[in-house]
């Protein structure tokens, strides 16, 4: 049956809008409460070091072609050799990470706090919606739906002939739950505790498992084939230089800040930086 039901505007005034307002207010309240309850977590030195090792290994993998092959090989050995390589994690330790996460009291407390702050308001609001706002049609969804959604969206309505597009207020609640995230990031700034969906996704994939990422980096590093990009740099140079000739006037721009920026302190033994003391370079050139 596809007849149109006319919904009372009072539903809009007394159901849809108050529900949204209440959810926004609860979100703001949760944000401030979480700010108050945020405990300062001392970062574990081991975890920090592992994070840095991973960054360094990743850099090595990414820019491997820019350093001479000998230094690349020595670095690779440094990272992945069997005895004391930085990325090498013996099998026994690999399993411990998860168990450690559970047994570490601080981390467990932190996770529990975060979960609670998310679960309790959700549960309460859901119960409130069910209690007060059930048993009637709240809204009509603008696009047609199949019969399968009936059990999900029309929970309080016990008529099986009503078109599935007419939904109960529970579905409005869910819509708000997922949709207000954008609104919260506008009002509360980027970092807010109301990112439920993100947190729910995080809960399924268990947090920071250092040993896995280390072994992943190690495998990646083992795979890399070193091909020295600078082998042909001289060809590139001659190409660039031809361009330099052609440019003529444009090349006489202010000496690209390159020479000046390098600190003068250390490298004086090799020869001064600016062309004004060219004579010194000349003298040095005579010495070699």
């Amino acid at each position: 049956m596809a007849e149109d039901l006319v919904l009372d505007t009072a539903i809009r005034d007394w159901v849809l809008i108050p529900l949204s307002v209440v959810m926004v207010l609860i979100g703001v309240l949760r944000y401030f409460v979480s700010k108050l309850m945020r405990s300062f977590q001392v970062p574990d030195p081991k975890i920090v070091k592992e994070g840095q090792v991973i960054v360094r290994a990743r850099n090595l993998r990414a820019a491997a072609n820019f350093i001479p092959p000998k230094s690349f090989r020595s670095r690779r050995v440094y990272f992945s050799n069997e005895e004391n390589g930085l990325l090498f994690v013996p099998k026994g330790q690999a399993q411990n990470a998860q168990a450690q996460m559970f047994s570490d009291p601080n981390m467990a407390m932190d996770m529990m706090k975060k979960n609670l702050s998310m679960i309790i308001p959700q549960t309460l609001t859901f119960a409130w919606v069910n209690f007060f706002f059930s048993g009637f049609v709240a809204a009509k969804i603008p696009f047609p739906l199949t019969q399968r959604f009936r059990s999900m969206l029309q929970n309080g309505i016990d008529l099986s002939t009503v078109d599935v597009s007419y939904v109960s207020s529970r579905s409005w609640y869910f819509l708000n739950l997922f949709g207000l995230r954008g609104l919260f990031s506008l009002i509360l700034g980027e970092e807010n505790a109301t990112d439920d969906t993100q947190r729910m996704m995080q809960m399924s994939g268990f947090g920071f498992d250092p040993s896995k990422s280390l072994s992943a980096e190690k495998d990646g590093l083992d795979i890399v084939q070193h091909e020295w990009a600078l082998h042909n740099s001289q060809l590139c140079f001659s190409r660039a230089d031809v361009g330099f000739h052609k440019q003529g006037k444009e090349a006489s721009l202010a000496p690209s800040n390159v020479p000046q920026q390098v600190q003068a302190s250390g490298l004086d033994s090799i020869g001064p930086r600016n062309e004004t003391s060219f004579a010194n370079t000349y003298a040095y050139a005579m010495l070699i």
């Binding site: 030195p45 360094r56 820019a63 060809l235 001659s238 490298l267 033994s269 090799i270 370079t281 070699i288």
Partner: protein, 300 residues
């Protein structure tokens, strides 16, 4: 490393404030974000904001970060009473803060009281072993006292934990070069190139170190890195052009007895020489004579 656009923006703001056009607060925020070192300007404009109670209250909670910034700038300019006042205000507001403790340590450093500063830093780092700033202050203190080997030791300890900090690698490389420990310096420059492969500075410095180390293999590698510097800067780097000429002639000298592998070396050197001559003619015509003498002597 500050990018070109950010630098021009900073200079523009500085000019604007210098000529009385307002915008001091934006200038200070930008200086703080980019971590550039302009102590006199920061001190002047920061104090002008802080001494004006209306402007100060307009800042709200940012007032305290401004106090910190001005305190550091004052220590840089050796206006130690200004620094002490700022720190006192901060200490009154945040009595148990480690950040203020750090500032007090820095004040002791600025006064030259190394022993007490060391004590303050060690007590702070006991509470918070992962504070990067305290580690860096220790290195700076050792360097200021002239104790370079202690500076190297501290820096190495720092890098064992925070090995992705490229500024620290750069500092270490410069210290090694100043001590003429070129092999270690080469390692540090390699780290820098790995983390930021498109910055021509590091290629240039690495090439310099390799050239100084000498030996046929190093000279050839140095030549390649000079070439890559020129590639990255579009042919404008005079130092790299000179480097190529010097490298080629040095390689020629070293491999005099053995069979020379010509490849494109003469072409490369002549190209570099031509580019150099053109550059000098345009920019420093009076030195052009010197250049021709040198190039002639290099083509042995």
């Amino acid at each position: 490393m500050v990018s070109k656009t950010e630098e021009t923006q900073l200079n523009r703001l500085e000019n604007q404030v210098d000529n009385g056009g307002g915008g001091a607060w934006e200038y200070l925020c930008l200086a703080r974000k980019l971590k550039v070192r302009r102590p006199e300007k920061v001190l002047k404009y920061g104090l002008s904001i802080l001494n004006d109670s209306k402007k100060r209250s307009a800042l709200g909670p940012e007032e305290w970060t401004l106090y910190e910034q001005v305190a550091i700038a004052a220590m840089d300019c050796q206006c130690l009473d200004v620094a002490k006042d700022c720190i006192k205000v901060l200490r009154k507001k945040f009595p148990e803060s480690k950040r203020v403790g750090r500032l007090e340590g820095m004040l002791l450093e600025a006064k030259g009281l190394w022993g007490e500063a060391e004590k303050a830093y060690s007590s702070l780092s006991e509470d918070n072993p992962l504070d990067q700033v305290i580690h860096k202050r220790r290195v700076a203190m050792a360097k200021a006292q002239g104790n370079i080997s202690a500076a190297i030791e501290w820096l190495n300890k720092y890098l064992e934990i925070f090995m992705a900090d490229h500024d620290a690698w750069r500092e270490l490389a410069e210290i090694y070069v100043s001590l003429q420990m070129y092999k270690q310096a080469a390692f540090c420059y390699e780290e820098l190139i790995l983390s930021q492969p498109t910055v021509p500075l590091y290629h240039l410095a690495y090439a310099d170190v390799l050239y100084t180390l000498g030996g046929l293999e190093n000279l050839q590698t140095a030549k390649k890195y000079y070439a890559s510097t020129i590639d990255l800067t579009g042919g404008k780097n005079t130092r790299a052009l000179l480097g190529i000429c010097l490298c080629t002639s040095a390689i020629g000298q070293v491999s005099k007895g053995r069979n020379k592998e010509d490849k494109e070396s003469p072409e490369l050197q002549s190209l570099a020489a031509k580019a150099l001559e053109k550059d000098y003619k345009e920019r420093a015509d009076d030195k052009h004579g010197l250049l021709t003498c040198v190039l002639r002597s290099l083509k042995i």
